[in-house]
Amino acid sequence: MEGASTRGVLCHLSLLEVQARSRGSQVPQQPSRVKELKAKVEALTSQRDQLKAELQIHKKLQKLRAPVDKRREDGEDEEMDVDSESSELFHLMARHSELTDLLHAHNLIGGYDAITTNGGKGMCFSLATEYEGAYLDTYKLELNLKPKVRISRHNIPPFIPLNSLAEQSDLQTDVRAFLATVSQHLNAFAGRKQQLKLVKEQHKSIEVMESNLLCSILVLMFTVPKDKTPLLCTLEYTDHTRCLPTRVHLNCQDKLVPDSPNWKKNCSLLKEVPVHRALTAIKKASNIV
C-alpha cells in the first residue's frame, strides 16, 4: 500500500517537475517566435497586396492601350469615366508603356538606336546585323556633327572601307544614306561569315581550304564519289554588298568533272543559293561525298 502511493506521489512530483522545467524553457521562446511570425505575415501581406495592385494596374493600362473601337465594343468606356480620379496618372502610365514598347520595337527591327552625344555636337548609332533570322553582331559608329560631319569613334572592322563609303554617299548632306550603305556592307559581311560558320558545322566532310577576314573568298575541297577524286571549289564574292558569290570556279585533276552537266548545274546553284544550303542539295544529289 505504502509503496504504491509513494510511487504515485513520486510520479506526480516528477511530472510536475518536468512540466515546470518545460514551461520555464518555453516561456521566453514563445513571444519571440510569435513576434517573428507576425512580422513575417506583415511582410508577406504587403508583398501580396503589391502584386495584386500591380496586376490590377496591368489590366487597367492594357484597357487604356486597346484601340478606342475595341473599348467601346466591350462597353468599357463608361467604366473609364467613373474612374476619373488619378486618370491623368493612368493615361500617362499607359502612354509611357506604349512608348517604351515602340522604342523597343525600333531596336528589334534593326533601327540605329540613335543617341545624341557631346551636348548635341555628336551622334552615336548602332548598326545591327542579322542573317536568316539570327541576330548577329552589332557595331557602333559615332559621328561628330559640328563644324563638319566627320566619322569619330567606331568598332567597325578595317576591311569595311568606311572612308570611301563616306565619300560615295556624301556624308555632309545625307547621313541616312551613308548609314544605309554601311549597314548594307556590314550585313552582307555578317551573312557571308555566318554561311561559313554553317558550312563548318553542317558539312564536316567538306574541308575549308581558305577564307579571308572579309569572307569575300572561300575555297572548299569536295570529294567526288567516283574514285574519291578531290575537287577544289573557289567562291569569289566580288560584290561586297551581297551574300552570294559572283564567280564560282572548279579545279580538278580529272578535267571531265568540272565540265560535266551536273557540275555546270551545281556552279549555277552555288551562285543562286547560300553556300551551306547549296552544299546540302549537292550532297543529296550524290555529286559529292
Binding site: 514551461r23 518555453q26 516561456v27 514563445q30 517566435r33 510569435v34 511570425l37 507576425k38 513575417k40 505575415v41 508577406l44 501581406t45 508583398q47 501580396r48 497586396d49 503589391q50 502584386l51 495592385a53 500591380e54 496586376l55 494596374i57 496591368h58 493600362l61 492594357q62 488619378s86 491623368e88 496618372l89 500617362l92 502610365m93 502612354r95 509611357h96 508603356s97 506604349e98 512608348l99 517604351t100 514598347d101 515602340l102 522604342l103 523597343h104 520595337a105 525600333h106 528589334l108 527591327i109 534593326g110 533601327g111 540605329y112 538606336d113 540613335a114 545624341t116 545591327a128 546585323t129 542579322e130 536568316e132 533570322g133 539570327a134 541576330y135 541616312r176 544605309a180 548594307q184 550585313n187
Partner: protein, 204 residues
C-alpha cells in the same frame, strides 16, 4: 497560457503558408498574362506604381509631373528614332509565349508605315541566355504589305518570310518606299510645272 500560444503559433504558421501560396499564384499570373516588355516598372513608372498602391509619401502632382517629364523624353526619343530609321511604327504588341529556364519566347505584332508603304509584321522572337550573352532569333515571320505595287514585291516578300530576314525586310522597304516617294514627288513636280506653263497635262 502555453496552450494559447501554441494555438496562436499554429494560426500564424498557417497564415504564412497561405500567403506564400497566394504570392506564388499571383507571380505566375503576372507572368502568364498578356505581358508587355514595358510592364517591368522601372524608374518613374516604379514610383507611380508605389503611389497608386498607397506606398509613398509623395503628392500626386509630384508623381504626375515627374512621370510627365519622362514621357516627354520618350516622345522626343521616338521622334528621333522614327526620323533616323525612316520607319514609323504605330503599334507594338508583345505577348510572352514561353518563359522556360534560359529561353524566353515572345510573339510580337508590329504595324506602321514607311513613307506611303503600310505594313503589318508578326513574328516570334526567341531569346536564349548563353552565359553573359543573349542569343536572339526570329521564328515564324509573317509579313503583310498594303501597297499598290504588290506585284514587284510579292516574290521578295515570300522569300524573306521563308528565310526570316526581318532586318533585311525593313532595310529593303525603307529604301524602296524612299525611292517611290522620290519618284512621286518628281512626277508631281513636273505636273505642276507643266500646268504652270499652260501646257496640257498628260494623263497617266
Amino acid at each position: 497560457m502555453s496552450e494559447e500560444n501554441a494555438e496562436e503559433l499554429k494560426q500564424l504558421e498557417a497564415e504564412v503558408k497561405l500567403l506564400q501560396a497566394e504570392i506564388i499564384a499571383l507571380q505566375q499570373q503576372r507572368q502568364d498574362s498578356w505581358e508587355n516588355v514595358s510592364f517591368q516598372f522601372r524608374g518613374q513608372m516604379q514610383d507611380a506604381l508605389a503611389f497608386v498602391c498607397g506606398q509613398t509619401q509623395d503628392l500626386e502632382e509630384t508623381v504626375v509631373s515627374r512621370l510627365k517629364e519622362e514621357v516627354e523624353e520618350l516622345e522626343k526619343d521616338l521622334k528621333l528614332q522614327t526620323q533616323m530609321n525612316g520607319i514609323c511604327l504605330n503599334s507594338c504588341i508583345t505577348k510572352t509565349l514561353q518563359s522556360r529556364g534560359q529561353e524566353v519566347v515572345h510573339q510580337v505584332c508590329l504595324s506602321g508605315r514607311s513613307y506611303e508603304l503600310v505594313f503589318q509584321v508578326e513574328f516570334q522572337l526567341s531569346e536564349l541566355k548563353d552565359g553573359s550573352r543573349t542569343e536572339r532569333r526570329i521564328r515564324d515571320l509573317n509579313l503583310v504589305l498594303d501597297s499598290s505595287d504588290l506585284q514587284s514585291l510579292s516574290s521578295f516578300l515570300s522569300r524573306v518570310e521563308e528565310t526570316r530576314d526581318l532586318l533585311l525586310f525593313f532595310r529593303t522597304i525603307r529604301s524602296y518606299s524612299e525611292k517611290c516617294d522620290d519618284r512621286t514627288r518628281t512626277f508631281q513636280h513636273f505636273q505642276v510645272s507643266q500646268s504652270r506653263t499652260g501646257q496640257p497635262r498628260t494623263s497617266h
